[in-house]
Symmetry: D3
Subunit: 67 residues, 6 copies
């Protein structure tokens, strides 16, 4: 029954990588807490780099500066 | 004053259907808890089927298998 | 498969009222979009009135002023 | 370490405006609570006007009526 | 830089189990997408069983029925 | 109409500090994007330090190590 929301910047994650995240998180919740995979929901949000900030700056700006 | 976030897979919900969800949830909160519709906020997020998982698999994979 | 998050202020909603919200939202998603109730997840968060703001003020302050 | 999620309707916010939101919120959390800007994360979601409701109506409908 | 929110019912998860979830999700994001652990944020929300619904019923009711 | 969710660790933020966050974010959205304060909603979530992770560790562990 858990619900997991993963937010990442939109920088080219593939369907295969997202499938790995979904499988991996579901397995983790089964292993650590015994949660039933059948009702474990995972939602991945990809966010534009202009719309994600850390350290008071957008990721767009940080990427331009090589960080 | 309530805030409601509805997440569904992006599979063709129309503006009319979204309007029904907005109206229906707002009415439900008024009927059950007496919440003021004027300040009830509803946000609908549509998520790609690659980015939604249940049972450890993406919805894309499940749809391909006829589930 | 939908996921719904309802946020309300913590002002005494009962288990019976929460059950009505869960049933009502699940039914709405089935009626409007044909979503399967078996995998519709609803999570209700109750938030202290000090921690909820609208119009630039907390709900605590608004309640004190009879709003 | 705070995490801030700002949801607005998708109505033309520019990268510069989003940068101002990111900088402003990060500064606010440092000033009010002494939070470290280096680990303050801000995520801005822009939502279609069809998918945002208030008062039981979508923003699309409200905009059409000049509200 | 990813942000992960894990929602589970409040049914006795220990600090050690939460630490395993935090470590496991952070590792998964590094392994699958090369994300930097130093800026990966994980937030776990525990929700009362009255406030979590699936299949149109609260978890409290489902637990009482041995499900 | 914006909705802002601020998540911080539960480490003693006062009602006055939360009021400052609510007022400050509401003002920021008015100044940067011209958003109407009357319908700007701010919700602050305080999360136990056991339930918040960064760098693969909980905040509880980091605080014990003087970080």
């Amino acid at each position: 029954m858990p619900y997991v929301n993963i937010k990442i910047t939109r920088e080219g994650a593939t369907a295969a990588q997202k499938a790995q995240l979904i499988a991996g998180v579901t397995e983790l919740l089964r292993d650590v807490l015994g949660k039933n995979p059948a009702t474990t929901v995972v939602v991945i949000d990809e966010v534009e780099t202009d719309s994600w900030g850390i350290g008071g700056e957008s990721i767009t700006v940080r990427r331009q500066q090589g960080r």
